[in-house]
């Protein structure tokens, strides 16, 4: 069955890069894009499963970690990656505490592919 992947990033370019890598590694994937946390919460239907989420940390409005917490109230996403260049320990620890994989920006194909397939 085709996977559904949520990509949340305020940068269109960043979403384009992530989307291109995902589509080159997974056939027939359904990608839901959002430019911020509020939009992501609007676009996610609690009755439809999301398999994987890529969520930027530094966005206008809620941060990526706040979004992950809000999403957890609506549905369970088995694999969530938090994307940021801001690798301060506190953020890394909060990500780990939330059970989220921390991916360093800029993302590259190898990192995204490893996350998708593992």
């Amino acid at each position: 069955m085709a996977k559904t992947i949520l990509v949340v990033d305020d940068s269109i370019v960043s979403r384009m890069m992530i989307k291109a890598i995902i589509e080159s590694h997974l056939q027939g994937v359904n990608i839901i894009e959002a430019g911020n946390g509020e939009q992501a919460l609007d676009r996610v239907d609690k009755n439809k499963a999301i398999d994987i989420a890529f969520i930027d940390f530094n966005m206008p409005g809620m941060t990526g970690l706040e979004l992950i917490s809000a999403l957890a109230d609506k549905l369970t996403i088995p694999k969530v990656a938090l994307l940021t260049a801001n690798i301060q320990n506190e953020i890394r620890e909060q990500a780990l505490a939330a059970g989220v994989t921390f991916l360093n920006k800029p993302v590259n194909e190898e990192v995204i592919a490893t996350f998708l397939h593992n």
């Binding site: 370019v13 960043s14 989307k19 291109a20 966005m59 940021t84 260049a85 801001n86 690798i87 506190e90």
Partner: protein
């Protein structure tokens, strides 16, 4: 003038600086062992006199700033700015609060130059790598005074590409600004680098 950069190019630039500033925040976090919060970079093309007003410092306020001029494929000025009081608080944190704040003035310049060097170079490194550009960066320089002394340019009527991020150490009530101001004369070359970067992404998406 504002139409020179498309929304996709501005988006790409914002993301590049977001990554650069994120790395800079990480460096500052390691230096002072405090969480550093960041705003999203603001990118605009503005006349110099408007850019100066956007720096959010009243002309009566004493500012401590570290500036680095850069030249090559594009040229301009990078600035790290604090109020004088916040600058001293940051130096105190860097030195582990071991020296009374009234005795810090002697160390202020050296310490802020070091902080500025680390932060501004983390940003520069990211931008240069992304855009595959060649620029040389001068040594950081410490300046103290009001905004007219800090932000210098040849003419009020010239335009600049202006990038601003506010960062803060919320637990210590310290805030500062990082700004990159690029001469309009080098903007065309800079835009070309951004366009190549965006084209590289869009062609990958389309393939």
């Amino acid at each position: 003038m504002q139409d020179n950069l498309t929304s996709l190019e501005i988006d790409a630039l914002t993301e590049i600086f977001n990554i650069g500033i994120g790395r800079a925040a990480n460096s500052l976090n390691q230096m002072v062992s405090q969480t550093v919060d960041l705003t999203i970079p603001e990118i605009e093309i503005l006349p110099n006199k408007v850019a100066k007003q956007k720096l959010d410092f009243d002309s009566g306020v004493d500012i401590s700033a570290v500036t680095q001029r850069f030249s090559g494929d594009f040229q301009g000025q990078a600035l790290l700015m604090f109020t004088k009081e916040n600058g001293l608080q940051l130096v105190s944190l860097l030195l582990g609060n071991k020296i009374p704040i009234e005795d810090l003035s002697e160390l202020e310049q050296d310490s802020l130059v070091e902080i500025g060097n680390v932060i501004l170079n983390a940003c520069f490194g990211t931008v240069i790598n992304f855009l595959q550009s060649s620029i040389s960066i001068e040594m950081p320089e410490f300046i103290q005074g009001n905004i007219d002394k800090i932000f210098t340019y040849s003419s009020d009527n010239d335009w600049s590409l202006y990038i601003k991020v506010k960062f803060s150490l919320p637990s210590k009530h310290i805030a500062g600004h990082i700004s990159f101001i690029m001469d309009i004369t080098s903007l065309e070359v800079f835009q070309e680098s951004v366009r190549k970067f965006v084209f590289g992404i869009t062609s990958k998406v389309g393939s």
